[in-house]
């Protein structure tokens, strides 16, 4: 007979007050034979949709509720009886959240009393008046909660409360106010509470529970002490039976879309498609007409006309405002999306498959992700708000979960580890996810890393003590973490490890999803709970993207893509500077020079094909047309790499392996990818051709395969496929082989339409870099952070294309970077710089002219860009050098690049300059109100160099000068600045250090240039030398670690991109070598790497066998990618 049910349960979605996942809680309920469970997280319904799913999977009836902490009364727990109760819950939670601040909701008794419909209330109050007031609101739906936390007076309190309830005519119910599924999770709960309270376990005192009794107990365990209240147990069952709520909201899917008189949504969509098709194709061809009719038919049957109209309308708005916007993902498979201008890739020309996007009996809403230029995205979001109303539209949340670094930091802090250890710990962790990479404490006290199969590798300590590298410089090797732990930290280490592992993937807080917008047919708060976002006046739904999909509600993905802002900015500059109105939408995609550029791997900054992995693949694949770029975008991803799809394709591409098909029927499908399955669309086509599946069946198979978690799951899918194949005359062995091929791919595959959409943007950015490199670099600088490389690396790339990076100048810089015309005067800094560059280019081994010791102001302030050391400012490229539209444009850095200067300050400077150029440092200080830090930093990066004032002297005067500004509050102290004593000028090295520190962008030589002579003396090669080396040679190379990658797919290999003044070098570090030298890599900065040169298919890398730290005079940050 069904018995007791827990009606008051907190999960990890109570954020730092619940220590178990939904799955663990449900498993515990199942173990105790409990057939229902209520989820009552604090002030939110964050876990509700997942709970709904997971509970149904486990055959447990889910009950939905929340605990509200009232500011004017005792807490109350509310449970939804039915849909009206859900609406009440959403309204109450939303109102409480909106009345307070983010993470500090403000619920009142009145607020709860205002929305009692469909709700059951549980109260642990001992106050007669409170209980009486609640009874007035909830009537017989109020229950007094009997909770035994095993405190000294708990049973007495429960007995007293039961007596009081009886007097007031209120029924009782037993709960355990559960905080975790099992007793073991109590330690985790204590740590979470400490994280929330901002204290350590030693400091927490009575703020932590006195014992660990708040777990999900069996009925028998609860009856042991509360058995004398049998009615309170029976009531728990009765309440569970009364609650009956299903969260499927599919019935109210779409908000209406206003259409002109005389049209239905579908007829309007039809008319738009006809017009769009004529515009895109210049008339109806039979193929276009047929595909359009087919898609419109499916859309009509699925009732999705309004969904397409909503998306069309958003893109129409973007086009009107000249905001770059384009659909990505499987939507690009649809001709309807294309003719409505939602997507930009022609699905007919690129042979895309609509069924990957939408099939007739698909039960989920199709997904259209729109990429929008990041700088304009907010305008689009505001449009959607205006169009549908704030009551019907809100942003979807993103649940930020604990990753290994964040959890290590917070857990270590809560366990009382010292701040320096907390920092060191967090920094030493590579992986964002929890796995065996966490350092393990060895009995000897050393730290080791556990490999994936659970074996313990050699202790890092032992390894280091054996082979502590002889430092290249005098810097000592960093001490191992274990040497730094004190006795207490050492003793708590096992606890730290255990809790960090337990906390894995726990939700930490909500953030706004990057673009997901929910639009509802009913008012939002009647359907979903909302709360405040960090952004002012912005609300966010407590459900994430997946939850919204599961509920069957409609969401638009308005994603910000910085590359589109880059494109928009560059196109505007090209128009302004060259008078060329580029319409990228109509750009032919067959320009051989674009493919030359890509094959040369001159792709820093080019969308999707700039990464290290791409740089390795491009010379092998050598893309020569747009279809090749689509493949390139699709294959260099974790999935295909892991699925071992890439090498067979590359081998066939290079002609090293014959192109073969398992069955002749596959040839038309796989011809474009040389017989290798590379796109999800191909799975559908193969299933249709070989097994005779319908499109819907084929897409179902693809989905099922991608979700299959075990070989058994996969085997269940095999027999229908093989049966179908046999019926089509395919023999058993071949059918099984083909099934094996698609199964291997399904888990990782990428849809061609998405790759095509991205390939188009890749092509556009390559076009910009090729013909208008200066505008392209300016666009890159002004839309950071984006892409794979830091601004410092982009600056190096620009210089290698003959584009100087000019320092910030108070009379020339705008708020952001701009293109600057090079002065034509012979003998100017610019031309002399180029002259020197060309001269040294031939030697390629700079002899190293003496460092300049004085600031050398020049009228154009090209001082840094034309340094005596900086022979790199020359176009070393082949394709760009031959095709660029302009050779006299440089990049002038913007004022906002300077640390301490915001957009507002930069705009003040630019505005003030309109009244006349600044004549001197004092003139600037007097006219522009600026804090001392801003003034100092401007002076230090050379913003006043052109005014003939030495930087060090200005630093002396900055303190006085800022007092002369109108912003200084005490004008009485505003004396003229005092003259500085004679100070030595800045050396080139000092100027470089200031650039790295203040803007992060070197305007002069790249940092390695300053070490070149010493490196040459030790036979350390440059990246340029390496290109000419022979395969298998042992070489030593040095550079700044600009990118560090530790991909999960690389079986423990780590990849470094080292930058020097000539370019990048790729370093491969094998797992054993990495284990040995990890502390050196962790330090960041620069390294000297000894290894074997690998020259394969035009790809050059160094397989490291030894790494030594190279201590730099500047601090550099690397970009770490997993």
């Amino acid at each position: 007979m069904p018995g007791f049910v827990h009606l008051h349960t907190h999960s990890c979605y109570s954020f730092l007050d619940g220590a178990s996942s939904l799955g663990d809680l449900l498993d515990a309920a199942v173990e105790h034979g409990q057939d229902a469970l209520a989820l009552t997280d604090t002030s939110g319904l964050y876990g509700a949709v997942r709970f709904w799913n997971v509970a149904r999977e486990r055959g447990v009836k889910p009950i939905f509720g929340a605990e509200l902490r009232l500011i004017d009364s005792d807490p109350v727990t509310l449970l939804a009886l039915d849909r009206s109760g859900w609406t009440s819950l959403c309204r109450i939670v939303s109102a409480a959240q909106l009345a307070g601040e983010k993470t500090k909701p403000r619920a009142t008794f009145a607020l709860v009393a205002d929305q009692p419909a469909g709700l059951i209330a549980l109260s642990e109050s001992d106050d007669a008046e409170t209980l009486a007031r609640l009874r007035e609101v909830f009537g017989d739906r109020l229950y007094a909660e009997l909770v035994d936390r095993w405190g000294p007076a708990d049973i007495d309190r429960c007995d007293g409360r039961a007596e009081l309830a009886a007097e007031l005519g209120i029924a009782t119910v037993v709960t355990n106010d559960v905080r975790y599924a099992r007793p073991e999770a109590r330690q985790l709960h204590d740590v979470l509470r400490c994280i929330d309270l901002g204290c350590t376990v030693d400091e927490a005192g009575t703020q932590l529970a006195a014992n660990g009794e708040r777990w999900l107990k069996s009925e028998a365990a609860l009856r042991e002490r509360l058995g004398h209240h049998p009615g309170a147990f029976a009531n728990a069952r009765a309440i569970a039976d009364r609650c009956d709520l299903d969260l499927g909201f599919g019935y109210q899917r779409l908000p209406g879309f206003p259409v002109p008189d005389g049209y239905t949504p579908f007829s309007f969509l039809y008319a738009l498609c006809q017009d769009g098709a004529r515009a895109k194709y210049g008339g109806m061809t039979p193929a276009v007409s047929k595909q359009l009719a087919h898609e419109l038919d499916v859309i009509h049957r699925c009732g999705l006309a309004e969904f397409f109209l909503i998306n069309w309308d958003i893109v129409r708005f973007c086009n009107e405002r000249r905001i770059p916007a384009q659909g990505r993902g499987s939507a690009a498979d649809s001709i309807v999306a294309y003719v409505l201008d939602i997507t930009k890739v022609d699905p007919i020309a690129h042979d895309l498959l609509f069924e990957r996007f939408l099939t007739e009996d698909s039960h989920t809403m199709p997904d259209i992700d729109l990429d929008i230029a990041t700088n304009d995205r907010e305008e689009v979001i505001q449009y959607v708000y205006r169009k549908y109303g704030e009551k019907y539209a809100a942003m979807v949340c993103n649940v930020v979960t604990y990753r290994s670094r964040s959890s290590s930091r917070e857990v270590a802090k809560a366990l009382g580890f010292r701040p320096e250890i907390v920092d060191r710990l967090a920094k030493s962790i590579d992986a964002p996810r929890f796995d065996s990479r966490l350092p393990v404490m060895e009995p000897s006290g050393g730290l080791s890393r556990r490999s994936l199969d659970g074996r313990h590798d050699e202790s890092v300590n032992e390894v280091l003590s054996e082979s502590r590298p002889t430092a290249f410089t005098s810097e000592s090797h960093p001490p191992a973490l274990s040497d730094l732990l004190n006795e207490q930290e050492r003793a708590r280490w096992p606890l730290f490890r255990k809790i960090v592992e337990e906390i894995a993937d726990f939700p930490r807080h909500l953030s706004i999803h990057n673009g997901g917008m929910l639009i509802t047919a009913l008012p939002l708060v009647d359907t979903v709970p909302i709360e405040r976002a960090t952004m002012p006046d912005r609300n966010v739904v407590q459900f994430d993207k997946r939850d919204i999909e599961d509920l069957g509600l409609i969401k638009m993905d308005l994603l910000g893509l910085r590359t589109l802002s880059l494109i928009k900015d560059a196109v505007a500059m090209i128009d302004e500077l060259h008078g060329v109105r580029l319409d990228l939408g109509t750009l032919p995609l067959e320009d051989p020079a674009v493919y030359d550029l890509i094959c040369e791997v001159d792709t820093i900054g080019v969308f999707q094909v700039e990464s290290r992995a791409q740089a390795q693949a491009l010379p092998r694949v050598r893309p020569r047309n747009f279809a090749d770029i689509i493949v390139e975008v699709a294959i260099i991803r974790p999935g295909p790499l892991q699925g071992n799809m890439v090498n067979p394709y590359i081998r066939r591409r290079q002609g090293r392996e014959p192109v073969a098909y398992a069955h002749p029927l596959l040839e038309p499908i796989l011809k474009e990818t040389l017989g290798v399955i590379l796109f999800q669309e191909q799975i559908l086509r193969v299933s249709m051709a070989i097994a005779g599946f319908t499109a819907t069946e084929a897409d179902k198979l693809r989905r099922a395969m991608s979700r299959a978690r075990s070989s058994e799951d996969m085997e269940k899918l095999r027999s229908p496929f093989v049966r179908g194949a046999l019926a089509h005359g395919v023999d058993d062995v071949t059918a099984n082989t083909i099934f094996g091929q698609i199964a291997a791919f399904a888990e990782f595959g990428f849809c061609k339409s998405h790759a095509a959409a991205f390939a188009l943007t890749a092509y556009h950015t390559a076009h910009l870099k090729l013909y208008y490199p200066s505008e392209f670099y300016v666009g890159l600088f002004n839309n950071q952070p984006m892409g794979f490389y830091s601004p410092a690396v982009i600056a190096g790339d620009a210089k290698r294309h003959g584009i100087a990076i000019l320092p910030v100048d108070v009379n020339r810089s705008q708020a952001k970077a701009v293109v600057e015309q090079r002065a034509a005067t012979a003998g100017s800094g610019a031309s002399s710089s180029l002259g020197r560059s060309r001269a040294s280019e031939t030697t390629n081994r700079p002899s190293g002219p003496p460092l300049r010791s004085e600031d050398a102001p020049d009228p154009h302030n090209r001082a840094s860009g034309s340094s005596s050391l900086d022979e790199a400012v020359v176009d070393r490229s082949v394709t760009i050098a031959a095709h660029r539209a302009c050779r006299t444009h440089d990049v002038r850095l913007g004022l906002t690049e300077v640390k301490g200067l915001g957009v507002a300050e930069a705009e003040v400077i630019v505005q003030e300059r309109e009244r006349g150029p600044f004549r001197s440092f004092d003139d600037f200080a007097a006219r522009v109100g600026m804090k001392e830090e801003g003034l100092r930093n401007l002076a230090l990066v050379g913003a006043f160099d052109a005014l003939g004032e030495a930087r060090r002297a200005l630093l002396w005067r900055a303190r006085d000068a800022h007092r002369a500004s109108p912003a200084f509050a005490r004008p009485v102290l505003a004396f003229p600045t005092t003259a500085a004593p004679t100070l030595p000028g800045l050396s080139e090295q000092e100027r470089a250090a200031l650039d790295y520190r203040i803007t992060g962008i070197p305007t002069g030589p790249q940092v390695m240039r300053f070490y070149r002579e010493r490196l040459l003396a030790r036979d350390v090669r440059s990246s340029a030398d390496i290109q000419r080396g022979s395969h298998g040679a042992v070489v030593t190379v040095a550079g700044a670690m600009v990118v560090k990658q530790h991909p999960e797919t690389a079986k423990g290999h780590v990849f470094l991109s080292l930058e020097d003044e000539y370019g990048l070098v790729n370093i491969i570090i094998r797992p054993a070598t990495y284990a040995k030298y990890k502390p050196v890599v962790d330090l960041g900065g620069a390294v000297v790497v000894e290894g074997t040169l690998q020259h394969v298919d035009g790809v050059v890398s160094v397989l490291a066998r030894r790494l030594d730290e190279l201590a730099l005079f500047v601090k550099l940050a690397s970009r770490n990618w997993q």
């Binding site: 708990d154 007495d156 330690q187 030693d202 932590l208 014992n211 002490r225 708590r492």
Partner: protein
């Protein structure tokens, strides 16, 4: 009147059919007539840790005693006496 022992006194529990029968503290033997309440204190798991089962006992001579069993050491202690 209540007396709290800063250093709880070691005690020996005599059991009768699974229930406390008498408590022996030093030379004194206190016959238990009722277990008034039970509670648990578990804490400081990050250090040495505490795991105690507390009982409030009423004795035949009218005293109320708070005693605890240290679950790790399997020993009993008298912590407070109220008359």
């Amino acid at each position: 009147m209540s007396r709290l022992f800063a250093d709880p006194l070691p005690a020996h529990m005599e059991w009768h059919e699974g229930e406390p029968g008498a408590l022996r503290v030093g030379n004194r033997r206190l016959v238990v007539v009722e277990v008034v309440r039970r509670w648990r204190v578990d804490g400081e798991w990050w250090a040495d840790g505490i795991a105690r089962e507390y009982l409030t006992l009423r004795t035949a001579d009218g005293l109320l005693c708070d005693i605890y069993g240290d679950r790790r050491r399997g020993e009993w202690f008298l912590q407070r006496v109220m008359d």
